[in-house]
Subunit: 240 residues, 2 copies
Amino acid sequence: MAAKTTYPHLVEPQDVDFTLRASISNLIAKTLNVAGTDADSKGFGIRALKPENRSWVLSRMAIEIDRRPAEYTPYNITTWVSDYGRAMSTRNFVLDCEGEIFGRATTQWSMIDFNTRRAVDLRYIAEHNDAVWNEEPPIERAGKLAAVEAEGTMTHRVAYSDIDFNRHTNSLRYFDLMLDCLPIELHETDRPVRVDINFLNETRYGQELTVGYRHEGDRWEFEVATDEGTVACRTSFEWR
Amino acid sequence: MAAKTTYPHLVEPQDVDFTLRASISNLIAKTLNVAGTDADSKGFGIRALKPENRSWVLSRMAIEIDRRPAEYTPYNITTWVSDYGRAMSTRNFVLDCEGEIFGRATTQWSMIDFNTRRAVDLRYIAEHNDAVWNEEPPIERAGKLAAVEAEGTMTHRVAYSDIDFNRHTNSLRYFDLMLDCLPIELHETDRPVRVDINFLNETRYGQELTVGYRHEGDRWEFEVATDEGTVACRTSFEWR
């Protein structure tokens, strides 16, 4: 049924960085976990799709974080599907702490049929259609990000601790790698930040990833690519 | 008060490796989290010690894992302090799934006074003394591990995503680094394993770690050291 649904969270010790606040990558991870949980609970999640050999694929995400909650802070993530077309569904999120909103996100997903390797026409997925809640995304959707002419790079070979059950790199690992490239001083502060992400291709166990970055003032751009030149994702961080 | 206490857990999606079972490092992390939670709840955890500028330091751990629970499996971790001397306290753990024990661990901790940089005499900590439950450790304590003459190495620079609030490397990261050195085939199986760990020194943001390893049959030995030659930890894994 159409519904905005709220999932309670708590910032636990394993969620925080050295500032004892939830890290950006942790807040992104929790937000994406809620997408999965909510879709599952409404009958169109990956658990329901698995027997049909289908799955959701995340293609873009934008998230704005005004401040990162401190360790042991309870907070909520509220989510809803606002609209969809033939090939792409938009799911939104608002993060609040005791009613005070500190984060907003919007994501775009397609449903892939692994038999045909093509996108499924979403107009025929009744459970998904029934879940649509007619409320606009809380922030502007992620834009298409251009290739990054890197001024610096870092490399990482995809290892056991990076992979999911398909032996593809867990997308969340890209955020750790990108955030590790930033000057530590940028993590010390708790300034509002907007993150735009384009997910482009999967990467696999054993591949060497190159994380390229460039920045201009408080805007940092990243591109993660394999040693074979396949671009895995592009991301921009804009601190305000 | 003297008590064995049980903490319920659930294997969540972020806890599993590509085999969809909880990873060894995740089970170690959950076990050590329980140590902190239990000590806090009984009045002698790091929360109570912080105002006195004291903390617990883990020096050795042994854990035996018979099988790794699958995603969405509920399980329990039961813990108790079995005994202590002037400088070292022994805390034990049993992991069970619906009453069937699949893991056992024992750990040795000292309490450090940051003002003097010396171990606190545990005989004067009433809350800790009161918590002792007179039951032997469920497995043999971790032995002292010898230096490792490495047959292979992997390096890693300590980065933002690796550090705790002291800007020291989170000890649990060592396990990811070590497990990443193993042949992927060893992770595919779910054989019983015993892990012995000696924690020796802290490492810091920006240091380059070298993970050295050697193996003989199903026994793998690891040593993590900094570019300045300080040994952070030694670990042996013995698959059965």
